[in-house]
């Protein structure tokens, strides 16, 4: 089956340090250390949890096991790199996530009666501006965590890692609306990646 695999620059496994030879079959037991428990990839709906610098489409030999948000096999090969995922798209995705956290914080401010602060936060058009404003604002206690999360999300949109921006946006959603809102936020992230990267919805 086809699976997605995120790697560090140079097709390096993020946990194993294994350098993947594009196109060649790799068996978990033979290679120096592809992974302790097999070769890992993921389905499209789990991409936001595993973001790294390079995204590859990989062929996973059967049997393939679903473990949490991973797919595990004993043998796989990299088929092709998804070139649409690059530093620029990662930056745009991080900023999109940061905007979502910003808007949740603005909503929290509004609920707390701080309409002016909410409008000012919504008007911030860059992560840098969100960071600056978050330091300046007089934040009511009930909106404090949401504004902190928006500020952290903005910081991670600037510095990376991109996966952290996605994580913060998901947890800002959870803080605001519970587990259902977090699930919805993660699905929004998947939809963004599928749309922007032109991924088939069901490659894996």
């Amino acid at each position: 089956m086809l699976a997605y695999k995120f790697l560090r620059p140079g097709a390096v496994g993020p946990f194993s340090g294994f350098v993947w030879p594009a196109g060649e079959w790799v068996t978990a037991g033979d290679a120096p250390a592809p992974c302790r428990t097999g070769i890992h990839g993921c389905r499209v709906e789990h991409l936001p949890w595993w973001l790294q610098d390079e995204l590859w489409l990989a062929e996973f030999d059967e049997p393939v096991e679903d473990v949490g948000r991973k797919l595990v096999t004993a043998r796989a090969r990299l088929v092709s790199r998804v070139d649409a995922w690059n530093a620029e798209t990662a930056r745009r995705f991080g900023e999109a996530c940061a905007r979502r956290a910003r808007d949740r914080a603005a909503l929290a401010l509004q609920r707390a009666g701080a309409d002016g602060a909410a409008a000012a936060l919504r008007a911030c058009d860059t992560p840098q501006r969100v960071r600056e404003l978050a330091r300046e604002l007089d934040v009511p206690e009930t909106a404090r965590i949401s504004v902190l999360m928006a500020s952290d999300g903005a910081r991670r949109a600037i510095t990376g890692p991109t996966a952290t921006s996605a994580y913060i946006a998901a947890h800002a959603a959870r803080h605001d609306g519970g587990p259902t809102a977090m699930g919805t936020e993660r699905r929004w992230q998947v939809d963004w990646l599928v749309g922007e990267l032109g991924l088939p919805e069901r490659a894996a």
Partner: protein, 83 residues
Amino acid sequence: MHDHEIICREFVELVTDYLEGALAPETVDLVEQHLVMCDWCRDYLGQLDATVDAVRHLEPEPPPKEMLESLLVAFREQAWEDT
């Protein structure tokens, strides 16, 4: 979709078992998801891994003679009380 994601405090509790390969695959999954996005915990893991690696190469040192004798006395007394 299950929604559990671990936080840094949970990671710290799990990190030793993670390094020893003693976690269930589902928990490894959660730990590695956390490591993807948390550079602080990644640094912590790297430091712990380096420490374990360094200590592994040290020769074990015997305890000082006085400490060894006092421990043996304590063990014998305990064993006597337990009989």
